[in-house]
C-alpha cells in the first residue's frame, strides 16, 4: 500500500514537473507547479512529516506561486516560444543523465541503491514533529538557522533599496 501511494505521488510529481517546463502557456505552467507542490506535500505526509507538508503548501503554493501568477498576469505573456528552441540540447543532456542513473543503479555501486533496497526503520517520535523540528532548529542547528535568517534579512533590505528610488541619495 505504502509503495503504491509513493509511486502515485512520485509519478504525478515527475509528470507535472515535466509539464511546468513543457507547457507553452505560462499560466498552465504555474498550475502544473501548483499540482506538483500538493503532491510533494503528499509525499511528506506519507513520511509522517505533516508540519513540512503544510509548510510546503503554505509557503510555496500559498505565497510564492501566487506571486508568480501575479507577475505572469501583469506581464501578460501570451506564449513564450523562446525557451522551447533548445529542446534538442535538453533531450541529449537528459538522455545522458538518465543513462548514467540507470548504469549506477544496475551496477549497484552506489549507496543510493542500498538505501532503496533496505528502508530504514521509522523512528518513533516522543513528541509531535512540529516540536521536534523546532527543538532541532533552536539547539543543534541554531547557527545555520541564524545565518539563513541573516541572509534573508539582507535580501529583504536589498529588495527595499532596489525598488525604492532615491533612498540612497543625500538630501540637500
Amino acid at each position: 500500500m505504502e509503495t503504491f501511494v509513493f509511486f502515485y505521488f512520485a509519478s504525478i510529481i515527475v509528470v507535472t514537473a515535466a509539464l511546468v517546463i513543457g507547457l507553452k502557456n505560462p499560466i498552465y505552467s504555474a498550475l502544473a507547479l501548483l499540482v506538483m507542490f500538493f503532491h510533494v506535500a503528499g509525499l511528506f505526509v506519507t513520511l509522517h512529516a505533516e508540519f513540512l507538508a503544510i509548510i510546503q503548501i503554505l509557503v510555496y503554493a500559498g505565497a510564492i506561486l501566487v506571486l508568480y501568477l501575479f507577475v505572469v498576469m501583469l506581464l501578460n505573456l501570451k506564449r513564450e516560444e523562446h525557451f522551447h528552441s533548445q529542446w534538442i540540447v535538453g533531450l541529449f543532456l537528459g538522455c545522458v543523465l538518465f543513462a548514467e542513473a540507470v548504469l549506477l543503479v544496475v551496477k549497484g555501486e552506489t549507496t543510493l541503491g542500498d538505501n532503496l533496497a533496505t528502508p530504514t526503520a521509522s523512528i518513533e517520535l516522543t513528541q509531535g514533529n512540529t516540536e521536534s523540528i523546532g527543538e532541532l532548529l533552536y539547539t543543534t542547528y541554531l547557527f545555520p538557522f541564524e545565518v539563513a535568517s541573516l541572509i534573508l534579512l539582507v535580501a529583504m533590505v536589498g529588495a527595499v533599496i532596489l525598488t525604492k528610488k532615491g533612498i540612497m541619495e543625500v538630501k540637500g
Partner: protein, 352 residues
C-alpha cells in the same frame, strides 16, 4: 469492517458539518440584508414569505435557473475551474474546527470524536494553508474571464490576500505561544474555566486582545469584505473578479465568500474566545450536557462575530487601494510583531 464503520462515521460527520455550514450561509444572505437595512432604517427584503424569511430560497432558485454564460474569448477550462478552486478551500477548513467538547465516543469498537471531524496536531497551519489556496480561485477567475475589470479585480485581490494573510498568521502566533500547541482542540481545552482564561483576556499572562483585533481586521480584509472589498469595488470595477460570472458559477464564488466568513469567525472564536466554553462554568451546565451547551455557546460566539462583520460593513467606507496596502504593512504588521515579542517575554517571565 472497522474501516467501513470509521468511513461511514466520518462521512456522516462531514455531511452534517457541510449541511450546517451551507444552511448558515443561506441564513447569512438574508440576515446580512436585514441587519444592513435595520441599521439604515429600512425594512430589507419583505416580499418572499413572512418578513422575507424565504428570500434565501428564492435567491438559490434564481441562481440555479439563471443562464450559465461563458464570455467569448474566455479560457473555458480555467473559467470553470476557478469557482471550484475558490469554494473547496473555504469549506475544507471546517475539518479541524472543534464545535463542542473533546469527547471520544466508542461506536462499535471504533473511537470517534463527535464534535470535531479530525484533530490533527497542525490544525491552525492547515486552515492558514488552505485559506491561502483560495486566492487561486479569485486570481484565475479574474484572468480567465478575458475582461479588464475582472483582471484588475483579481490582481488587487492577489496583492491584498498575500499582504493580510501574513498579518493573520502573525496575530495567531501569540496564542500559539500561550497554548504551546497548533491543534485547535488543545487550544480550546487550554481556555476552559471561565472567560478570564480565554486568550483574549489571558489572565496571568499577556492578554491577546491586540492580537485579536489585528486578527479580525485582517480576517475582514482576507474575506474581501467592506471596508477592504477592493477586489470587487463596484463603483470602480463593476463587480471585480466575478464580473463575467453568472448562474451557478457565480453562486460558487458567493458561497466561498460566505464560507470564508464563517470559517474566520469560527477561528476567532476558537483562538481568542474559548471555543465552546461558556463565559462562566455555571453557565456550562452539567458534564453530560456539555455537548449541547458547548454547541450553543460556540454558535453564539460565531454569530456575534458574523454580526460584527455586518456592523463593520454598515459603518465604514471603503479604503483606497494605497491606504489598504499602507495600513496592512505599516500599521498591522508592526503591531502583530510587537505582540509576539511582548507575549514571548511575559510568558517567559511568568511561566519560564
Amino acid at each position: 469492517m472497522e474501516t467501513g464503520i470509521r468511513l461511514a462515521l466520518t462521512l456522516s460527520q462531514i455531511g452534517a458539518v457541510m449541511v450546517a455550514v451551507l444552511l448558515t450561509v443561506a441564513a447569512l444572505t438574508l440576515l446580512e440584508r436585514k441587519v444592513l437595512s435595520w441599521m439604515q432604517d429600512r425594512m430589507g427584503p419583505m416580499e418572499v414569505g413572512p418578513y422575507g424569511i424565504l428570500q434565501p430560497v428564492a435567491d438559490g432558485l434564481k441562481l440555479f435557473f439563471k443562464e450559465d454564460i461563458i464570455p467569448a474569448g474566455a479560457n473555458k477550462f480555467m473559467f470553470s475551474m476557478a469557482p471550484i478552486l475558490a469554494l473547496v478551500p473555504a469549506l475544507i477548513g471546517f475539518a479541524v474546527i472543534p464545535f463542542g467538547p473533546d469527547w471520544t465516543v466508542d461506536v462499535l469498537g471504533v473511537n470517534f470524536k463527535p464534535f470535531v471531524i479530525t484533530d490533527i496536531n497542525i490544525g491552525v497551519l492547515y486552515i492558514l494553508a488552505f485559506a491561502s489556496i483560495g486566492a487561486y480561485g479569485i486570481i484565475l477567475g479574474g484572468w480567465s474571464s478575458n475582461s479588464k475589470y475582472s483582471l484588475l479585480g483579481g490582481l488587487r485581490s492577489a496583492a491584498q490576500l498575500i499582504s493580510y494573510e501574513l498579518n493573520v498568521g502573525l496575530s495567531i502566533v501569540g496564542v500559539l505561544l500561550l497554548s504551546s500547541s497548533l491543534s485547535l482542540v488543545t487550544i480550546t481545552n487550554a481556555q476552559a474555566g471561565g472567560f478570564w482564561n480565554w486568550y483574549f483576556f489571558a489572565w496571568g499572562s499577556f492578554p491577546q486582545a491586540i492580537a485579536c483585533i489585528v486578527f479580525i481586521i485582517s480576517a475582514v480584509a482576507e474575506t474581501n469584505r467592506t471596508p477592504f472589498d477592493l477586489p470587487e469595488a463596484e463603483s470602480e470595477l463593476v463587480a471585480g473578479f466575478f464580473t463575467e460570472y453568472s448562474g451557478m458559477r457565480f453562486a460558487f464564488f458567493f458561497l466561498a465568500e460566505y464560507g470564508n466568513m464563517i470559517l474566520v469567525s469560527c477561528m476567532a472564536t476558537v483562538l481568542f474566545f474559548g471555543g465552546w466554553h461558556a463565559p462562566l462554568d455555571i453557565l456550562q451546565g452539567p458534564e453530560a450536557l456539555h455537548g449541547i451547551t458547548g454547541i450553543f455557546w460556540f454558535s453564539l460566539k460565531v454569530a456575534s462575530m458574523l454580526f460584527l462583520f455586518f456592523w463593520i460593513r454598515a459603518t465604514l467606507p471603503r479604503l483606497r487601494y494605497d491606504q489598504l496596502m499602507r495600513f496592512g504593512w505599516k500599521v498591522l504588521l508592526p503591531i502583530a510583531l510587537g505582540n509576539i515579542v511582548l507575549t514571548a517575554i511575559v510568558e517567559y517571565v511568568v511561566h519560564g
